[in-house]
């Protein structure tokens, strides 16, 4: 259990540090393209993925860095990818919105809202056909919960009785649009009943709440009990993407950072309970800081892909 806690903290801290740093680096103009940061939402990816292993696959979103890190994708490869380098996870061909590592069961960040849930029906089906006990987990946002692909996937997972978990990350906004407006029901979890599965709501700032709810859902899925929809509620710390002025928001971020932050709450809880010492956590912070520093340094120094790379990797054979 101490190991799990340590790992949970390490993952959450890594995600946070990664995102804070990308935020800074983006401002310098050196990072190309669109970047969507996961800071504030760390407890979700971490609380879910800590239950997963090699049998399991996840599908992510445009806001994918956290899911990648939590599922074990190499952090340096990720940073290099965001910089468009040949040493990146996708050799610079994908970028932030397409980081993937299929060998780790990470099916990719996804530039299409609602792109992931159908794919996860497939990874869950494969696990079922192969009898591996594996599960599929689809992460998607409140905005994506209105995309037909997502809704179809919920129904299909139930109909096929798949070992799947649908994690609706409700951070209150899809771009500048409030989920209280765009989701016609009170909660995304209220949709679960219409697709024949349990729907659960958890506080996304609370690692332990997410971890517990995800644990139950994943265990049920592994045991043949079918899919679950988990709605995780929280706030993103940065804009929709880097560059977003966020004039549609009020003071919710400052409040969340101050009073709800998953890392702070985690630290308070585990130290007060005597489960992990402050020094252990501080050591992790330092270790993570170094990792991120190295990742950025190496990414910046790495070569970009060249003419030879342009037309490769389209097909296995053609």
């Amino acid at each position: 259990m101490t190991d799990t806690l340590r790992e949970a903290y390490r993952l959450m801290r890594t995600i946070r540090a990664f995102e804070e740093r990308v935020h800074e680096e983006f401002a310098t103009g050196e990072i190309p393209g669109f970047v969507h940061l996961y800071a504030g939402e760390e407890a979700s990816a971490t609380g879910v993925c800590l239950h997963l292993d090699d049998r399991d696959a996840i599908a992510s979103t445009h806001r994918g860095h956290g899911h990648c890190i939590a599922k074990g994708v190499d952090v340096k490869g990720m940073m290099a990818e965001i910089y468009g380098r040949r040493t990146g996870s996708c050799h610079g061909k994908g970028g932030s919105m397409h980081i993937a590592d299929l060998s780790k069961g990470m099916l990719g960040a996804n530039g299409i809202v609602g792109g992931g849930p159908p794919l996860i029906c497939g990874t869950a089906l494969a696990a079922k056909q192969q009898n591996t006990g594996g599960v599929g987990v689809a992460f998607f946002g409140d905005g994506a919960s209105n995309q037909g692909t997502t809704l179809e996937a919920l129904n299909l997972a139930s109909v096929w009785d798949l070992p799947a978990v649908f994690v609706a990350e409700n951070n209150g906004y899809a771009e500048a649009t409030s989920s209280s407006w765009s989701v016609a029901s009170d909660n995304i979890a209220d949709r679960a009943a219409g697709f024949g599965m349990p729907g659960v709501i958890v506080d996304g700032f609370d690692f332990f709440a997410v971890h517990e709810a995800a644990g139950e859902a994943i265990e049920r899925a592994r045991d043949g009990g079918g899919p679950t929809l988990i709605e995780v509620k929280f706030t993103r710390y940065f804009g929709h993407f880097e560059g977003d002025q966020q004039t549609y928001r009020a003071g919710e971020v400052a409040d969340a950072r101050e009073n709800l932050d998953c890392l702070k709450r985690f630290r308070t809880r585990v130290t007060e309970a005597g489960e992990l010492a402050e020094q252990v956590l501080d050591a992790i912070d330092a270790e993570v800081a170094k990792l991120i520093e190295d990742a950025v340094t190496e990414a910046k120094a790495a070569p970009k892909p060249t003419k030879e790379d342009l037309e490769t990797d389209v097909y296995v054979s053609y």
């Binding site: 696959a57 061909k93 993937a100 497939g122 299909l156 389209v314």
Partner: protein, 337 residues
């Protein structure tokens, strides 16, 4: 040993043989068995036109009915393909691609490139295309030009039972996403097909008929139309060479160019809507790569730029027929600058 079987049977046999050979092959689609949850027969349909009939009982647990949720189940096939399965998903009519295209062209087709080569998505999407069954505008389209346009997809358009079986087995064994386009008006046509399993490689055209006067490239069901025209042309002492590309992506450009270099004349017959279709694609290829050999304008025989009409009277006028191919071939042969 070859026997005469139908296009439908050839496809069914290809599926059955590959399912027997490789456990990872699974089949899914609306009513691909037919009867899920119903009180009567549980393999009641075998697909809307009976193509998958019988597989459900032969391969228990490996033929899956689906809700009418094309994005979800096509996506599921794609997701499963990334995890060790070789799914064959049926999109009942190609016309339905509009509700699930994203999973095909933004997901399956792009995984390998976006992920820097670290993906393999051996999924086959079988789908029914084409006019002739009075099925009207939303159930009669060709649309393979759209899939051909997309890098990362392979597109197969079998013209006969023999091609159907060999190309489908190849599609299933292939490691890239394949769109397998079956012409609904061909299901009941018959031809010689070996009983044993065999593959036809992608990107290798079939020279259906040799001839030195004009090259006719024809796609899918249009191959038979071209043959009809070629018989008539022969009566006019014109020898047409007919090329069936068999796959539009990859396209066997070499065979086409060689033929045109020999004949100097080209007619392309494509049942797809005329703008940005295979007829334009192949014409452009030849106008670029074999210009020096061309002795006449390149003719394209296609339907008009209209949706497919319902009435038999109109649909028969809509679909390219042998007479139109004949006229085009004569025009290019008789052309003088």
């Amino acid at each position: 040993m070859a026997r005469t079987i139908s296009y439908r049977e050839a496809i069914n046999e290809a599926l059955a043989q590959e399912m027997a050979r490789d456990e990872s092959v699974i089949v899914m689609g609306e009513d691909n068995a037919g009867g899920a949850g119903s009180p009567g027969e549980d393999d009641a349909w075998g697909g809307v036109l009976g193509v998958t009939k019988g597989l459900f009982h032969k391969f228990p647990g490996r033929v899956l009915d689906t809700p009418i949720s094309e994005s979800a189940f096509v996506g599921a096939a794609i997701g499963a393909a990334t995890r060790g399965q070789r799914p064959v998903a049926e999109l009942m009519f190609i016309d339905f691609m509009g509700v699930c295209f994203d999973q095909i062209f933004n997901q399956a087709a792009k995984f390998r490139y976006m992920f820097g080569g670290n993906a393999r998505t051996p999924v086959v999407i079988r789908t029914m295309y084409g006019a002739g069954l009075r099925a009207a505008a939303q159930h009669s389209q060709c649309l393979y030009p759209i899939f051909t346009h997309i890098p990362g997809l392979k597109v197969v358009v079998p013209s006969s039972p023999y091609e159907a079986k060999g190309l489908l087995i190849q599609a299933i064994r292939d490691d890239d996403p394949v769109i397998f386009c079956e012409h609904k008006a061909l299901y009941d046509t018959s031809g010689d097909v070996p009983e044993d399993s065999y593959t036809i490689p992608f990107g290798e055209a079939n020279v259906v008929r040799d001839g030195g006067d004009v090259t006719i490239v024809a796609i899918g069901r249009m191959v038979a139309v071209a043959e009809e025209a070629a018989n008539e042309l022969k009566n006019n002492k014109i020898e047409a060479e007919i090329i069936d590309p068999r796959t539009t992506s990859p396209l066997d450009t070499e065979t086409i160019l060689e033929s045109v270099e020999n004949t100097g004349r080209l007619v392309v017959v494509d049942e797809a809507s005329p703008r940005c279709n295979l007829a334009t694609d192949i014409s452009a290829l030849v106008a670029k790569e074999a210009f020096g050999s061309l002795r006449a304008p390149i003719e394209m025989v296609t339907p008009p730029h209209t949706p497919v009409p319902f009435s038999d009277a109109l649909e028969d006028l809509y679909i390219p027929d042998a007479q139109k191919v004949l006229n085009a071939a004569k025009a290019v042969v008789e052309y003088r600058r």
